[in-house]
Each structure stands twice: as structure tokens, then as C-alpha cells.
Amino acid sequence: MRATVAALLRKELALELRTRESVPAMVLFTVTTYVLFHFGLDRDTVEGDLAAGVLWVTLLFAAVLGINRLFVAEHEQGGFDGFLLAPVDRTALLVAKAVTLLCFLCAVELIAVPAFGLLLLGPSLGQALPELALVVVLADVGIAAVGTLVAALAIQTRARDLIVPLLVLPLLVPVVLGASRATAPLLAQGGAEALPGDWLALLALYDLLFALIAYAVFDFLLED
């Protein structure tokens, strides 16, 4: 399965590099949203709980853009048929798409998090970065697992653009909750506080649970 995942992943990254459809749109969305928060909250800076909430809600909505487009090439250009005709484990498609989404999210966050620090955040990000990276990775794994599952389900419907946010946002409430609570102490005024372990554990448990659910049901979503 590793060779199949590598082949699919290589194709996904080549397509994104060629079309630049997902990541640039997601980055632009996050920066625009920070500017909107700046004016909407009528504050020059945010910190603590508010900063964490703004950061994660923005990243979550940006993720929805990527999730919406995750299977578009497969659906519109016969990629599903091409894959289903090959003698390979179908789970490889789930893994490759989830890793692709994870890569997209990480690429967006490499720009979006520093941009958040520059445009909105009061306290400096520097000291909190290693711990924030851990929270980001745990949250991204959950978003990638749920996002891939929902994208595969929604692509079969005509109302894909509606179904994705309607399904993915409620399902990702625990991720936003866990990530925001874990991030808030890191963005507190007066220096980063300790990382709350229980919220990290919640994120890790969520990741494991939804990775297993996605693994269990993905094959059925590919059946005609």
C-alpha cells in the first residue's frame, strides 16, 4: 500500500503545484479573515482565549475550502474510475487524500500563523511556537481525517458546497474546542503559560477515533 499512497500523493502535489487551486485560496482567506476580525472586533490586538478562538475558527473555515476541493479532480476527470480499476487497496486513497489535506493545512499555517502574529496577536509568538506547533499538528490530523471522510461523501452529491460545511463544522467542534483551549494559555498576555495536557489528550483521542471511523467506512463510500 505504501507505493500506492506514494503514487497518489505525488499526483496530488503535482496537481496542486500545477493548478494552485487550494492552498493560495486558503491562505488568502485566512489573511482576509484576520483583517475582518481586526475591524469587526475594533481592536488592534487580541490575546488569550479570544486570540485562540480567532485563530482556530479562521483556520477551520480555511480548511473547509480545501476539503471542498479535495476530490474534485477525481470526480470531474475520472480519477475515481482510474483508481477503482487498479488492483490496489482502496484505503490507499483515504490515506493519500488525508495526507494531502494535512500537507495543505500545514502549508497554509506556515503563512497563516505568522500572519496572525503580525496582524492581530498582542503577545509575541516566539516563545510559544514549539508548543503551538504540537497543538496545530494534533488539530490538523483530526481535520484531515474528518475532512477526507466528509469530502468523499459530499462529492457524490450535487450539493457538495453545502454538504461539506454542514457536516464538517459540527463534526469538528471538539477540534476547535480542544485546540482553542490548548492554545489559549500559549497566547496569554505576559508570556506563554504551560500547555494543558488534558486538551491535548482530547485532540489525540479525537484523531484516533475519527481515523478509525474513516478507515472503517471509506470503502463503502467508493462503492457505486
Binding site: A14, R18, L85, A86, P87
Partner: protein, 227 residues
């Protein structure tokens, strides 16, 4: 006694309440060619997609290369070459990138990609994005994709669509009778389709309207099929 490559017994397929195929029974021996004829909407593409394991049969028995579908579909997938209405190629990738991707999925050697590109006469344009190629060139690449893994059974839906006569001649060694493979193909050209086939299946509204050796099919039967 030649081995049976495709066997259907009362096979059927529905889309919702509508029956696209009903009670189709036939046998095709290995190495033979079946041409499927019929007017638009007769069920030709549905039959091909069912044999390719892309659609589940809803009634009857379907066996392809000795494997019962849909349960043993995973055993037969790598042994089928499918050429449908869609080329199954990513428009933003080049022809070579597309074929290398499919070669990796099928476990075919990278050298085979160059071999099939040469065989369909697309080596010179292999590094152009598919979106920039003419329909005929895309069809040639789609043929290259379908035979990349050297399948035993070819399922060809209008294989000569968009091809000029020279291109048709060019791809004959890959998908024609000369390929030596078992073939099931659809055609809107009854005369041309019957020429290269052993067995003719005529479908009308999803039902078998004609099933006979190609040599025995009469013009009157063809006319009745399309009437």
C-alpha cells in the same frame, strides 16, 4: 475447449427504479471479440462498466476471467483494460505523468510507459498537458492507459471515437484483433464493428435483441435493432 472469459446469466442493472440492463445472458471465449450494438441508451456502456467492476450487477450472475462479480472484483481488476467515454486522465498533468501514475497503480515498469507512448504515436507530445491536446490525441493516450498493464480482457467503449483513419490503423496492434486479447467493444458503426468481431450482441432498452455469430447477422437484424 477454449476457456470462458466472460459469462453472464440473467444479468441486470438498475439506476433507481429504471432498469438499464435486464436478463442478459451470454458467454465469450478467451481470445474472442464481442461487439455490442444498439441505439443510444440501450445499455451498452452500463454493460461495459459492469464487466469492468465499476458497477455492481443487481441481478443474475456475472463472471469475468473466472471471477464472480462483485465479490471477486479485486482479483480481476488488474487484468482488465477499460476504455470508456472519459479518458481517465488528469487534464493538468502531461500524458507521460498520467501514464506514469497509472503504471505505478498497476505495478507496470516505467519502461512500459515509453513503449505504449511510442505505440500510440504520442512520444513527441508526451510532455504537453492533456488539456492542450486535441481530442484524438487524448483518445490515443487513453488507449495507451488502457493497455499499459497488458490486460487479458479489453473493454472498449467506442474505441475509435475522435480518431482519424491513420490513428485507427496506428492503435490496431494494441486494441484490435491483432492484440490477441479477449475484447468486448461497443460500436455505433455496425458494419465496422461486425467485421472485427466473433460474436454480436444487440441491446435495445436494456434487453437482448440480438445475440449471434457475426457471420450470421443479417442487415435486416441490424436495421430492426436501430429502428
Amino acid at each position: 475447449m477454449p476457456e470462458t472469459a466472460v459469462a453472464l446469466r440473467g444479468a441486470g442493472r438498475r439506476y433507481g427504479e429504471r432498469s438499464a440492463l435486464r436478463d442478459v445472458s451470454l458467454e465469450l471465449a478467451a481470445g474472442q471479440t464481442l461487439v455490442v450494438l444498439g441505439p443510444n441508451g440501450a445499455g451498452k456502456t452500463t454493460l461495459l462498466r459492469m464487466l469492468a467492476t465499476l458497477l455492481r450487477p443487481h441481478a443474475g450472475e456475472v463472471r469475468v476471467l473466472g471471477c464472480a462479480l462483485p465479490d471477486d472484483g479485486y482479483l480481476v481488476r488488474g487484468r482488465i483494460g477499460f476504455l470508456g467515454h472519459e479518458p481517465l486522465l488528469y487534464r493538468e498533468l502531461t500524458g507521460r505523468e498520467n501514464l506514469r501514475f497509472h503504471a505505478r497503480l498497476h505495478g507496470a515498469a516505467p519502461a512500459r510507459v515509453e513503449e505504449v507512448l511510442e505505440a500510440v504515436g504520442m512520444t513527441a507530445r508526451a510532455d504537453d498537458p492533456v488539456a492542450e491536446l486535441s481530442r484524438g490525441m487524448v483518445q490515443r493516450l487513453a488507449i495507451a492507459r488502457a493497455v499499459l498493464h497488458e490486460p487479458e480482457l479489453l473493454l472498449l467503449d467506442e474505441p475509435h471515437a475522435n480518431l482519424d483513419p491513420a490513428a485507427v490503423a496506428h492503435v490496431q496492434p494494441l486494441i484490435g484483433r491483432a492484440s490477441g486479447r479477449t475484447r468486448v467493444l461497443t460500436s455505433h458503426d455496425p458494419a465496422g464493428g461486425l467485421t472485427g468481431a466473433d460474436l454480436a450482441l444487440g441491446l435495445r432498452r436494456g434487453r437482448v435483441a440480438l445475440l449471434d455469430g457475426c457471420a450470421d447477422v443479417t442487415p435486416a437484424q441490424i436495421a430492426a435493432l436501430y429502428a
